[in-house]
């Protein structure tokens, strides 16, 4: 785990240097470089929510609390990454559009996504009984995931001021060095996401042991 974290940090710091060497984007200038954090954070959060969906379905099917622990771990870390995406997007919007926020389909659906997953964590805090908490949270997580495809397709389904995909799409026109730098940042951010999820997962498992010990103490 430490090696993964170290690798992520080395890649991120090294890539900051690589990014600084890239030429400015013609229309937007230097601010466009924010995409190297904005996009990987969004993709990591979306993948995290997909993992949470699978883990929630698996919990409801198998009734194994490991899946519940995985769901809460990826959701919490995903929330932090989605916050990175929303905040960097807002700063970018302020420079390019002149406004911090617009009630645009992409921005609004992403904000709703953040609120839904924050609600998931609040719901877990509100329920005491572990089986009931895990079951309700799993059902809620499946419901919350319905917003993720809406976030992804919002720029295709509706007219929006958010730009269309520029990387890895047939309309994109970025030189290979930009795509390479983005890929490296994406790998680094995924590694960071994985490490944070592993730490959170271990905490969740320890918390279960604590709950078990508390019951033992009360029983004695």
């Amino acid at each position: 785990m430490f090696a993964m974290l170290a690798l992520a940090m080395v890649l991120l710091v090294r890539n900051l240097y690589t990014i600084s060497l890239l030429p400015d984007e013609v229309n937007q200038g230097q601010i466009f470089r924010i995409i190297f954090f904005h996009l990987p954070a969004a993709i990591a959060a979306m993948l995290g929510s997909a993992v949470a969906l699978v883990a929630s379905v698996m919990f409801l099917w198998k009734r194994n609390f490991q899946y519940d622990a995985l769901a809460v771990a990826v959701t919490e870390v995903g929330l932090a990454f989605l916050a990175v995406n929303l905040v960097t997007g807002s700063i970018w919007a302020h420079v390019i559009w002149g406004i911090w926020w617009a009630w645009d389909p992409r921005l609004t659906s992403a904000l709703i996504c953040w609120i839904l997953y924050a609600g998931y964590l609040i719901l877990r805090q509100a329920l005491e009984e572990p089986t009931q908490r895990a079951t309700f949270a799993a059902v809620y997580s499946i419901f919350a995931f319905t917003d993720v495809p809406i976030v992804y397709f919002s720029i295709r389904w509706w007219r929006t001021i958010h730009p269309q995909p520029v990387f890895f799409s047939k309309d994109g026109s970025f030189p290979p060095d930009w795509s390479r730098a983005l890929l490296i940042n994406m790998v680094a951010i995924f590694l960071l996401y994985t490490v944070l999820t592993m730490i959170r997962l271990r905490q969740e498992q320890t918390q279960r042991e604590i709950d078990y010990l508390r019951r033992t103490v009360h029983a004695i």
């Binding site: 601010i31 700063i91 970018w92 905490q203 604590i210 010990l213």
Partner: protein, 77 residues
């Protein structure tokens, strides 16, 4: 006595006020500041979350040790 028409004077003042080079420098500076703020915000959010995780880890460990010693004491009795 002849006075110059005010139009060229106003045009000159307007020209002096609008300096495209200064405006472009300002735009580039705002652009760069936005980029720096974006990077700082991304790192700060992740750092805060990591600090939150660390604080929780410490709390969980303390709780675990307390409960383990409680169980041991109860078993001794």
């Amino acid at each position: 006595m002849r006075f110059a028409t005010p139009t060229p004077l106003i045009a000159m003042l307007l020209q002096a006020a609008y300096d495209p080079i200064r405006e472009e420098i300002g735009r580039l500076q705002r652009n760069f500041q936005g980029l720096i703020w974006g990077f700082v915000a991304a790192w700060v959010i992740l750092l805060l979350y990591t600090l939150m995780l660390t604080a929780r880890e410490r709390k969980i460990r303390r709780e675990m040790e307390r409960l383990k010693s409680m169980v041991e004491e109860t078993e001794k009795k």
